[in-house]
Symmetry: C2
Subunit: 238 residues, 2 copies
DNA sequence: GAGTGGTCTAGACCACGCA
DNA sequence: GCGTGGTCTAGACCACTCT
């Protein structure tokens, strides 16, 4: 069955296998997986063991299960991808979907800090996406997004990026985002910040430094977001 | 076993029962629950069904299970209670534990907004705890904490509060905190803010408006925290 | 009616903690 | 060595979806 050393429970082995099949593209987003019974037969384990693996993946939002239909690889719809972890809302609580504004992408050497945060797999080059985003048609958010150039070949050619970024990562680069970690602070708008989103120098901005992790717990994106929180609220739920 | 209408799965009924026993004080924090087998016999369900309920409660941090020992009602240690949901850290990532500074508690009528957010059960009175907290012996955090007076009888007499608040809620008022929801924005320090934590008027502050929920998903606390993020970072993980 | 996931059971064996 | 939780199995029946 397994050597005692380095033993992993069967259901975790099943979990690992299916995760790697998803990240290898054997099962694509939206696609239906074989039924529990079929998987159990293929893998020579009981249905209960398969279920435990699938249930874990469901709670991690990697899969979606629908009674009477089947088990599906989760898709990142554009709404979900932005709001999935943390999102913006009106003071009255209704969710806000920022629209994309100006955007530029360039390739450059990563700074020491960026390479420390990102899991580049040895490569030194990164893409930097700079963009503004609009709330109610007014610029309110400044994003600087850094990703490994190695993992995102040809990203500059995709500009302007019209879909949500996490959707792009998934569909074009096979990167399945499952978690984020945010560091949040308050800063004063610099001259260039103020110009980009039409506020005075010295106005308060929320700064969010986010690391984004894929299905393998690898850090695939390092993002700095600055938000003018006049009339907007950043929400975190747990 | 159950009428088709209003049916709840057995494991959810078990879950509900144990949750209410914990909140009624039949099982106290730190106490050991009966074994799976004993519970199964008492409740006339299979061990697997009990396990599913206990596993859910474990993932919600209501219980802790230790192989070979037993299942225990979770306790809020003072470190965990502050850092459990979101916490403060140095720019280099090490966690910071703020110390309590000045504190005052008063009883008053709740504002419309507070009564809307809080689950007061009809009562109009609230306690407001105003306090500052120190980072590296310097005032850096301003808290305003509002709770229902009905649920927290005699709170003024407990001042100054030396333990972590969530620990107090649990030990003295039988309120078991299990989740929070934060709204975050950036503001400019007012004159009174500036005075309290020794910064200039107009400096940027992070403002966190938090609702805290107990084991019954009831909102038991509405808290406004203002943080001077010079040299401190507020961290959120998901 | 056939196929899917959802619930529930009964029983086996393993790994851990402790006396 | 005993009691605990952790893993795994095999099989039953239910509820939902689609044809």
């Amino acid at each position: 069955m397994a050597t005692t050393l380095g033993f992993r429970p069967l259901y975790q082995q099943v979990y690992d296998l299916i995760v790697s099949q998803i990240s290898d593209g054997e099962y694509r987003p939206g696609e239906m997986l074989p039924s529990e019974q079929q998987l159990a037969n293929q893998l020579k384990v009981s249905q209960g063991t398969v279920r435990k693996a699938l249930d874990t993946m469901t709670s991690e939002k990697i899969l979606e299960r629908r009674q009477g239909k089947g088990t599906f690889v989760a898709t990142q719809t554009s709404e979900r991808s932005t709001l999935r972890f943390f999102g913006f809302s009106d003071p009255d609580g209704t969710a806000i979907m920022p629209q994309n504004g100006e955007e530029s992408i360039k390739r450059r050497k990563g700074t020491a800090k960026e390479l420390l945060q990102l899991d580049t797999g040895g490569s030194q080059d990164v893409y930097e996406i700079a963009r503004t985003r609009l709330i109610k048609n007014k610029p309110a958010i400044i994003d600087k997004i850094v990703v490994s150039a190695k993992s995102f070949q040809g990203l500059t050619k995709r500009s302007p990026i019209n879909t949500a970024l996490y959707t792009l990562y998934q569909e074009k680069y096979g990167i399945h985002v499952i978690s984020t970690s945010d560091e949040i602070s308050a800063i004063i708008a610099s001259k260039s910040d103020a110009k980009k989103i039409g506020i005075e120098v010295g106005a308060p901005l929320l700064m969010i430094q986010r690391r984004t992790f894929d299905i393998h717990k690898k850090c695939v994106e390092y993002r700095t977001t600055k938000v003018n929180t006049q009339g907007i609220i950043y929400t975190a739920r747990i």
